[in-house]
């Protein structure tokens, strides 16, 4: 009777089997088995670029914070995070403060992995150098953004092995710029001038970081810390590469029709068609469905056709009218930069005056908008613009170089570089119009030239900060007159607040003064 009771006994023992407790993730490769092949290195290298196209970076919010704070743009957005940005009244724990910070550090994390692991992989050394060079370039780029936007921030350079390694100390802004310089310097030495003739999976690709891009940003970083001689050298190196030129049609820099062109030194790649159809806003984990499009167009575009969260200032409009082309026409850059009240102006194919009235106070962003190609920015779907963002173009190099020459006492030598930029849009020779400028006059002229050439490209507020205008009462008063948003500027707030969440999670990290 009791015999069959004992058949059960082995079964009891079986139930406690320890082997059954070994479970591995069936969905994804673990980090332990990665970093073995050149394909791993290549794919990892590509991923470092991914942080350029998040909501916090160039998909949307970096545009918002770089533009709204300048006197070339303003915001009447109903969303506080945009509305308050240019008014220097951000919520320290808000989205605008947090999203860019998060996006850049995600990029740093990826770059660190490549820099740490790729050298250990046995593979083609030329390809390895290119991958490492791009990782250094991008890490430098992310640190450059962190330093110029957030001031004093941590510099993590290794990968945390456990939770104990998450707490990297805050470093002063100079050290962060210093790290960017070191990274760009490495990148200059490792990157090719072009990928046209390299051998490897990256052969023929455009949009990758090149030696010229690394030089350009190395120069820009020196410029930001007022190392004009070192900066000038890098800009000259870019010019001397001889591969960059201004495109004849200024507006071609801001559409998806002439991307990665001869003027473009480094641009962020976006597409309406490549990639998934879900919004890859980040900052969460990348998904296969994520699209690769940008949301600047719908955010900045004119109301009725887009959200109209960011608009040009009236001063940007009126400053364009100060100087006519040699042929007596309006500076064509005005038309490329904004929609404004003029009888011939069309907005996405519709008459400006019919839509907005004959109203001079209405100006809207046109640069980086899909006007002329789509009926509005909601079609076929909102947030899905494919226009690459030209992060640095040859015009930058020419005007930066001119500035370095002026700052190092070579004011006269600056003229031809400035004139190249003016000549493209038909403006008369500067040497004729304003000959023999003093260094200070040249500074003001450069400010004017840059204001118009780079209106709505996020350069203006960078310039204002590095020129020290916010600390100069006369300049601040001028800015307040040009853009009333500066009325609520408060010392220290030229830098964004370090996100409160980061201060709360990282002991010893201090908020920027003024916040």
């Amino acid at each position: 009777m009791t015999k069959y009771f004992f058949y059960i006994i082995p079964f009891i023992a079986l139930a406690g089997c320890s082997k059954q407790l070994r479970q591995t993730n069936p969905n994804q490769e673990t980090a332990q088995v990665f970093w073995k092949t050149s394909a791993d290195a290549y794919n990892a290298g590509n991923s470092v670029y991914g942080s350029l196209i998040l909501d916090g970076s160039y998909m949307r919010f970096t545009h918002v914070i770089l533009n709204t704070r300048g006197d070339d743009a303003t915001s009447n957005s109903p969303w506080n995070e945009i509305y308050n940005c240019g008014k220097f009244a951000l919520d320290v724990n808000g989205f605008a403060a947090q999203a860019p910070y998060t996006a850049y550090y995600q990029g740093v994390f990826r770059a660190n992995q490549v820099i740490e692991n790729v050298p250990k992989i046995s593979m083609d050394t030329a390809l390895r150098d290119r991958i490492l060079g791009q990782a250094y370039f991008l890490r430098g780029l992310y640190f450059f953004h962190l330093a110029s936007i957030y001031r004093n921030v941590p510099i993590p350079l290794t990968i945390a092995q456990s939770s104990a390694g998450y707490y990297v100390h805050q470093s002063p802004q100079d050290s962060v710029y210093g790290q960017a310089i070191a990274d760009f310097t490495q990148a200059v030495s490792l990157l090719p001038v072009s990928y046209a003739n390299v051998s490897g999976p990256d052969q023929g690709q455009v949009g990758r970081a090149t030696k010229g891009a690394a030089m350009a940003f190395l120069g820009k970083t020196y410029l930001f810390i007022h190392q004009f001689t070192l900066a000038a050298q890098q800009f000259l190196n870019v010019i001397d590469l001889g591969i960059y030129s201004l495109v004849p049609n200024y507006h071609d820099n801001f559409t998806d029709q002439d991307e990665n062109n001869a003027e473009s030194i480094f641009e962020v790649q976006f597409s309406r068609t490549v990639g998934g159809t879900a919004d890859g806003w980040g900052p969460n984990d990348p998904d296969a469905t994520w699209g690769k499009y940008e949301a600047r167009a719908v955010t900045f575009g004119p109301r009725n056709f887009a959200y109209g969260d960011v608009q040009p200032t009236k001063i940007l409009y009126s400053e364009f009218l100060q100087e006519k082309t040699a042929g007596g026409a309006t500076d064509p850059r005005l038309y490329a930069t904004m929609f404004y009240n003029t009888p011939t102006m069309t907005v996405y194919g519709q008459s400006f005056q019919t839509t907005f009235g004959k109203n001079d106070s209405e100006v809207f962003c046109r640069k980086y908008e899909n006007d002329g190609f789509y009926p509005n920015e909601f079609t076929p779907a909102a947030f899905q613009s494919g226009i690459n963002y030209r992060m640095i173009r040859y015009a930058d190099i020419l005007l930066y170089y001119a500035e370095c020459l002026n700052e190092t006492g070579q004011t006269a030598q600056a003229y031809p570089y400035i004139q190249q930029v003016r000549a493209r849009v038909g403006l008369p020779d500067l040497a004729t119009v304003h000959p023999n400028m003093t260094q200070q006059q040249m500074r003001d002229q450069l400010a004017h030239e840059r204001f118009l050439e780079f209106g709505l490209e996020g350069r203006r507020f960078e310039d204002i900060v590095r020129w020290g205008w916010l600390q100069d009462p006369a300049k601040l008063a001028m800015l307040q007159a040009r853009d009333p948003e500066f009325n609520t500027y408060f010392p220290g707030r030229e830098y964004m607040p370090i996100p409160l969440a980061d201060i709360q999670a990282n002991p010893g990290e201090l908020q920027n003064p003024g916040w």
Binding site: M1, T2, Y4, Y7, I8, F11, I12, A13, A15, G16, C17, L21, Q23, N25, P26, N27, Q28, D40, A44, N46, S47, Y49, G50, I53, P78, Y83, V92, T102, Q106, V108, F109, R110, P156, S162, Y166, V168, V206, G207, D258, E259, N260, A262, V274, G275, A278, D287, K292, Y307, G308, A381, A382, T488, F490, P499, A501, D502, Q504, N506, P507, Q511
Partner: protein, 1132 residues
């Protein structure tokens, strides 16, 4: 034959395959028709008693057989002294020898041997009270019906005429009829476990009688996990739920029904149909999942336990609150255990029962919001204060001024919902095998409008259980299938919601019409240019969008038990719990105004399945040695959890819409999928020791392994010890007469917990979707995808088990013959190494917050339970009250002790979890002089709030926030009052909590003074000429942060609710008998959430939140509806 069969069993089971085991069960069911009763009667017994009261003979026999004697002592004369001598004699023989002479019949019913007086006529077991024809008396025929305090009929109740041998017992409907010698006689009504009653006949011919359970709770058998124990023998902390009270709650969710019913249990819920609730036993014990483990008929249910389970099937509910009680469920028990036993079939002819209710539900409250004119006034002021032009729609001087639309969004959206529940049960069986089968349908529609997308929930459930016994083998199974459909509250996928259904409804501005035929889709929305407000038309959204979740769940468990040697039991329990889910989301093209414009119709369809397979083996043995009673238990369990899902996505659909892939733009289609698996293995043991019913000790030990930890941290050892001293059984202590029961209990133990949602948290992996794109030709738009793979998340490989240490001290007191029972308990629980995802620095660059052993907490509290049962003639009174306090303290947080911030809350060492946190306001700046005198508030202007400079550094910034109150109530309580009088019964249930604060996030958003709609209080805003107010100026952009986290939004969360009131009526049996169809009918009316006393300014202080770091934050929690119901319970 038998031998072969046993081998089959063994082989089948060793395959650990469920299906063969189930098939085997079916084979067995047919095989088991062998009369168990005959076997019992054939059983050999040994007995030698001389001159012993007959009742003691039966007691002695009961110890040798697996059956109980049932009899009316008066009728059979149980105190007569008899002598019995039996040596290895068949039971049937012993009984007939003994009883024949005494003119007593016996009959086997189920596990009972029913004794009755012999009448000469054929003996139906409830008809032995009929009177011999040759009786000398003039008899009066009377009838009656006996029910319990909740109106349920009691079967087998003894009804005897006082001072005579004349008597009878009640039938299955509780009815009896009897010939009494004198219309002035008195009836003695008695029933095991109930208080006896003497009822004067007083010339009546029909007597409805209600019996009250007598000290029942102490004799009740309590299910404690892999076994049962008498409540008086408990050592651990176990709360016994009065199912009668719980069943009155109209809900789909058992967890919801426990609100206020048990000391130490807190429930937070919302009124969203099909929404989950938060249930916590003795406070927060985990930073992930604080829901207790539900064990249904011995089956631990891992996934969303109470959700798919009909309320009507419940027989009993017990709550295990400390480590000693819960230890046996070990690694799943850290948050407490709720043990549910379902109704089982009993032997006898098929019984059919129906119970159901139908009711109406509505929103108990609407908030006072601004109308068109008030809205325009405030928003215009906000624009003026910001120096902005007035929005055209709000400007009377503008052509676009809106004066003819004044939508009251609450009025437009709120409606009456319907709730209904129907349950049909069949049960019956033979002596060997019994079955029960029930069918359930539940349906609830929302109290908010909106076409196809309005929230609703319905559920179909079929449930069958069977148990059988054949010799040393008993076995059974329970199989339940549930299909449910939940229409979710949905938001447009491209336009992240700003609030939620309630927040968005209230923020909607009055100048938008509900319907607008000019817009695509036909619903109103705001205009970007003229109105400037981003608000969502919730009614339109509900109509246009479609999102639902279907769940099909199969829960099967089969068990078998072998008892080769008396009291040595081996039990095998196999469980398979599988849920198939489908989540569909569809968004058509529509125009709901500014921001909510969609040109691309979009469909996602997720299919998933999750299952838990569980094998449990236990071996138990119990024995008695003189005064020592010992129960031993040892076992192993093995569990596997698996989760799979696949999501398809496509967009570009055009009307007419078909919700199938391929009908949209196929180039947009994509699929993602994944699977997760976790396993767990445990060894467990328990010793229960009882010395003379006075000293009781329970010892538990277990070893648990989980695949969720790295091999170095995989195994944990846990144990507990508890003891009790039953003082009232102590001979040397003489308690006052009023004290009928007194016991002291205490326990200490540890439990492990690995119940956090990530299955592979200790490993890092590579995300291969981190792609980018490059161009292939300079100057062209040609681009292609470049694959990207990288580690995007971080993981902590040192992750290990959470440990919970509990201490419990309790006193049980019974007074006045246990009509009044009182329990007080004090507990301290310490949770160490709690696994959580505290924020990590953003500079780590990870897309996740990894699971780490992040915190240690302590919870302590006192719990009181008082019950009082008393019958006064026809009136039966039942009072149950419970209350508990809870204190929470954070002992440690992560490696750095960094605080964790939630929504207007902060969790910090030395404080409680989720304490409310923000700025302290100090009134309003009246002029620029005021501002200059105050600490620097960079963007302040007259009319803005003044914040207190907490850190005294003369600048207001994030460091000036402070604690603003506790989100944890000081006291929770529940009070059930029920009484029955004859055929009528009535009950009320009050529930409440005391002393907590709520951050009213809804009020906050309605007082923001922006473009969205306002609470009426905002009309009192500051202006230079209206300075005497506490409402700051409205200003677009809110530069001063008037709307930020501050004491402005902190409100009292104290409330008392009349949660339930019910009035029932039982139809007289005599009338029902004439129908020959109905055996019992009870009808009732009830109301739920009838009254709330509170100062809270939101809809309902009973909110659902994250229950943790932001536990006090109410951001539009869906208000609990008020319900009115009629119900029917019928026995056929």
């Amino acid at each position: 034959m038998k031998k072969q069969l046993s081998r089959q069993i063994a082989i089948a089971i060793m395959k650990i395959s469920l299906i063969p085991a189930l098939l085997l069960m079916l084979v067995f069911c047919s095989y088991a028709s062998d009369s168990r009763g005959q076997k019992l009667l054939d059983k050999k017994v040994n007995l030698q008693l001389v001159d012993e009261e007959m009742r003691n003979v039966f007691t002695a026999l009961e110890k040798q057989i697996d059956a109980k004697f049932v009899y009316s002592p008066e009728i059979i004369g149980a105190s007569r002294k008899v002598s019995v001598e039996a040596k290895d004699k068949q039971l049937s023989k012993v009984l007939s020898d003994l009883l024949e002479a005494l003119n007593i019949n016996y009959e086997l019913v189920d596990n009972y041997i029913v004794l009755s007086k012999k009448t000469g006529k054929s003996p139906g077991y409830h008809s032995y009270g009929t009177i011999p024809d040759n009786s000398p008396y003039a008899y009066v025929k009377i009838g009656g019906r006996v029910v319990n305090s909740t109106g349920q009929p009691l079967e087998g109740v003894s009804v005897v005429v006082k001072g005579t041998n004349i008597g009878t017992t009640t039938n299955a409907n509780g009815e009896f009829s009897l010939n009494v010698p004198d219309p002035q006689s008195t009836l003695v009504v008695s029933y095991i476990g109930y208080q006896g009653q003497e009822i004067p006949v007083a010339d009546k011919t029909y007597l409805p009688i209600a019996l009250t359970a007598e000290n029942s709770q102490l004799n009740d058998v309590v299910v404690v996990g892999y076994g049962t124990v008498k409540k008086s023998d408990l050592t651990g902390s176990v709360g016994v739920v009065n199912v009668g009270n719980v069943e009155k709650v109209a809900t789909y969710d058992v967890a919801r029904s426990l609100q206020g019913q048990v000391a130490g249990v807190t429930v937070q819920g919302s009124g969203e149909p099909g929404g989950f609730v938060n249930i916590k036993i003795r406070g927060i014990s985990s930073l992930n999942d604080n829901n207790p483990l539900f064990v249904i008929d011995g089956v631990p249910i891992v996934n969303e336990a109470p959700y798919d389970f009909p309320m009507d099937d419940i027989e009993s509910i017990q709550v295990l609150k400390d480590a000693s009680a819960g230890a046996i469920y070990g690694s799943r028990a850290a948050a407490g255990v709720i043990i549910i036993t379902t109704k089982k079939g009993r032997s006898g002819p098929v019984r059919v029962k129906y119970s159901g209710y139908i009711g109406a539900q509505n929103m108990p409250k609407t908030l006072p919001l601004t109308n068109r004119q008030q809205y325009q006034q405030i928003t215009t002021q906000a624009e003026k204060n910001a120096g902005l032009p007035i929005a055209a729609a709000n400007d009377p001087s503008n052509a676009a001024y809106i004066s003819n639309t004044n939508t009251d969004w609450q009025k437009a959206a709120f409606k009456t919902g319907v709730i209904q529940d129907h349950n049909l049960n069949f049960s019956g069986g033979t002596e060997a095998t019994s079955y029960s089968m029930s069918l359930n349908y539940f349906d609830q529609s929302a109290t908010i409008k909106g076409g196809p997308g309005e929230p609703k929930y319905n559920r179909y459930n079929a449930n069958a259980s069977i148990q059988s016994k054949a010799g040393i083998l008993s076995f059974g199974g329970r199989f339940a299938f549930t299909e449910s459909h939940k229409q979710n509250i949905t938001y447009p996928h491209l336009h992240p919601n700003i609030g939620n259904e309630i927040v968005d409804l209230d923020r909607a501005i009055p100048t938008v019409p509900v319907n607008d035929p000019k817009r695509l889709g036909g619903f109103g929305g705001t205009d970007e240019v003229t109105q400037k407000a981003i608000v969502l038309n919730v009614i339109g959204m509900n109509n246009l969008m479609n999102s639902y979740s279907d769940r099909n769940r199969f829960l099967g468990n089969s068990w078998l038990e072998l008892e080769p040697v008396k009291n040595l039991k081996y039990r095998l329990n196999l469980v398979y719990d599988r849920t198939e889910t489908r989540d569909l989301f569809f968004e058509p093209q529509y125009d709901l105004g500014w921001y909510y414009l969609n040109n691309t119709a979009y469909l996602t369809d997720s299919r998933g399945a999750q299952y838990t397979a569980l094998v449990e083996n236990t071996l138990s043995y119990k024995f008695t040695l003189g005064q020592h009673r010992i129960d031993l238990l040892a076992g192993t369990t093995y569990e596997k959890d698996d989760l799979q899902n696949m999501t398809g996505l496509e967009s570009g659909f055009n009307p007419p819409y078909y919700l199938s892939f391929g009908t949209g733009d196929p180039t947009t289609a994509s699929v993602t999928s994944g699977e997760q698996r976790a396993t767990m293995s445990s060894f467990l043991g328990r010793i229960n020791y009882n010395y003379g019913d006075r000293y009781l000790i329970t010892v538990n030990a277990r070893r648990d392994g989980s695949s969720k930890f790295s091999p170095e941290h995989r195994w944990g050892n846990f144990g507990s010890v508890a003891g009790a001293w039953n003082i009232s059984n102590e001979k040397f202590i003489h308690l006052p007469d009023a004290v009928s029961f007194l016991k002291l209990r205490g326990g200490y133990g540890t439990l492990g917990n690995q119940n956090f949602p990530s299955y592979y948290a200790y490993t890092t992996y590579i995300n291969s979707n981190a792609s980018y794109l490059f161009g292939n030709t300079p100057g062209s738009g040609n681009q292609y995808l470049a694959p990207g793979s990288i580690q995007t998340q971080v993981a902590d490989p040192t992750l290990k088990w959470e440990t919970k240490t509990t201490s419990n001290l309790a006193l049980d007191l019974g007074l006045l013959n246990n009509t009044l029972l009182f329990t007080a308990e004090y507990f301290v629980n310490t949770d160490k190494d709690l696994i959580a995802q505290p924020p990590i620095p953003l500079s780590v660059g990870a897309t996740n917050t990894p699971y780490v052993n992040a915190a240690s907490l302590r919870n302590s509290g006192i719990e009181f339970t008082v019950t009082y049962h008393k019958t006064f003639g026809k009136l039966a009174l039942n009072i149950e009250a419970n209350a508990h306090t809870l204190k929470n303290k954070v002992l440690q947080l992560g490696g750095t002790n960094d605080p964790i911030y939630g929504a207007e809350s902060k969790t910090e060492v030395g404080h409680e979890v989720g304490q409310i946190y923000g700025y302290v306001t100090e009134g309003i700046f009246q002029n620029t002089g005021d501002i200059q005198k105050h600490a620097i508030q960079p963007n302040a202007a007259p009319g803005d709030l003044k914040f207190r400079d907490i850190d005294g550094n003369d600048t207001i910034n994030a460091l000036d926030q402070t604690y603003l109150g506790s989100a944890i109530p000081k006291l929770y309580y529940g009070l059930n009052l029920s009484l029955s009088y004859g055929a009528w019964d009535a009950s009320v249930f009050f529930q409440g909590n005391e002393g907590n604060k709520i951050v009213n996030g809804l009020y906050q958003t309605l007082m923001a003074g922006q473009y969205t709609n306002h609470y009426i209080d905002e009309l009192n805003y500051w202006t230079p000429t209206h300075a005497n107010t506490n409402v700051p100026r409205p200003v677009i952009g809110d530069p001063n942060g008037n709307d930020g986290p501050s004491d402005r939004w902190v409100q009292s969360g104290t409330y008392v609710k009349l949660q339930n009131a019910q009035l029932g009526y039982n139809f007289p049996t005599a009338k029902l008998n004439r129908t020959h169809v109905f055996k019992s009918i009870r009808v009732y009316v009830s109301g739920q959430n009838l009254l709330t006393l509170t100062k809270y300014k939101g809809y309902d202080p009973d909110i659902i939140s994250d229950g943790l770091f932001s536990r006090g934050f109410d951001y539009g929690s869906f208000p609990n509806p008020r319900s009115y119901m009629v119900g029917l319970q019928v026995g056929f």
